[in-house]
Point group: C2
Chain length 212, copies 2
DNA sequence: CTCTGCCCTGCACTAAAGTCCAATAGCATT
DNA sequence: AATGCTATTGGACTTTAGTGCAGGGCAGAG
């Protein structure tokens, strides 16, 4: 059981030092960075973690780093700290998903509490993402036809109806369906439906009828 | 097609007047209130709407009103405006779900844009809530036994397994199951699963085996 | 050309789910 | 006692889903 890691990003060495002391004594692992760029260069961390970030820094600001992390598909829970922030800045940060936005001087307990919430959120979000990614990965292994059948099955349609919709025999649907269950590693329709919803599977538009 | 309504809550009559002018010309219906209490007393509005709220008011503040609305099970999207706010205040508001937090003086376009986002969010959230409430209402109509069967069906278990789990005959399960489908107005297992997930149905703990 | 992957299908059969009709029984309310 | 809701089950039967084995066609890679 490794302790959660807090990444401190601040251009002021004395702030880094004091935050390190506080967070370490609170039981967290701590890594410090002097600029947003330095942090972005770090290898993505897989375990429980969060970022404590100074909003105003030379070069990439904290808000920019926040955007960059999201843009890089590497979203992380962020606790902002600032000495000279303003309301629009804090609002933007919160809109972009920040966990908290503290102004100096702040109580140590407030920071630790925020970090704790951030780590918890990170773990939760990571779990969600992982499961969604796994579901999508499985969907990606389906052949085009299997994907179509999959989408219709989770609609609740009968094999017969699916067959009609796709213009193939019912038997064919059964075969595809069996493969879908296997590839999606679903033991039941219920599981299949949940996997579909998680992966965001959409029903394909039904083809125009050839004529009544 | 009625226009969305914006509820303006501000203790300053001149602000109410100018906001009314701006929002009306932007195509919104507007109702103004001089205090949080006045607004709480209003009959809940069913259509698309949002609140434009001054944070600092005598009596109940904007932040308190925000809490009160949530506490009353009547959450509404809120756009805060303030002349003398601070960062902690804005952060608290955003954490509590505010759509935006504008400081005076603000651009009219910024307000209108925020209101538009708020109304959109309100419509979306309302829809979600309605559907969840509907699902729960249906679940509430189930008898205890039906509820158990329901919970197990959406797990993906076979009738035979459910029968074993509940200690009844497979036939009995079929009967309950049919009633569940009817009462839940589900046309397929897929729909049933989605209703269950939306209503937050949990699987009951399996009874201890009588002995291996 | 062969091999492989994808798509389509038929037949036969088992298992599971859904649908009627009908009946018994406990429990609570009226 | 009568009525109504819930829970339970049986029997008979139809419809679906799932499985195994068999085949065919088509297109791209080697």
């Amino acid at each position: 059981m490794t302790a959660p890691v807090v990444f401190v990003v601040d251009d002021d060495p004395s702030v880094r030092k004091s935050l390190t002391r506080v967070l370490t004594s609170a039981g967290y692992g701590v890594e410090t960075f002097g600029s947003a760029g330095d942090f972005m260069a770090r290898t993505p961390f897989a375990g429980p973690c969060c970022v404590v970030l100074d909003v105003s820094m030379p070069g990439l600001t904290g808000l920019h780093l926040q955007e960059a992390l999201v843009g890089a598909g590497r979203p992380m829970p962020i606790v902002f700290i600032t000495g000279h922030g303003d309301i629009p800045m804090s609002v933007q940060a919160m809109k972009a998903g920040a966990v908290d936005f503290l102004t100096k001087p702040f109580a140590v307990t407030a920071l630790v509490a925020a970090v704790q919430r951030a780590v918890a959120k990170g773990v939760k979000d990571r779990g969600e993402e992982d499961r969604t990614a796994e579901a999508r990965a499985r969907v990606a292994r389906l052949t085009p036809r299997e994907t179509e059948v999959f989408a219709l099955v989770v609609t609740g349609m009968l094999n017969k109806q699916i067959a009609g919709q796709l213009g193939v025999g019912e038997k064919t649907v059964k075969v595809h369906r069996a493969r879908v269950m296997e590839k999606m590693q679903a033991g039941s329709v219920a599981e299949l439906v949940r996997l579909a919803d998680r992966a965001g599977v959409m029903v394909p538009a039904p083809p125009a009828l050839p004529a009544g």
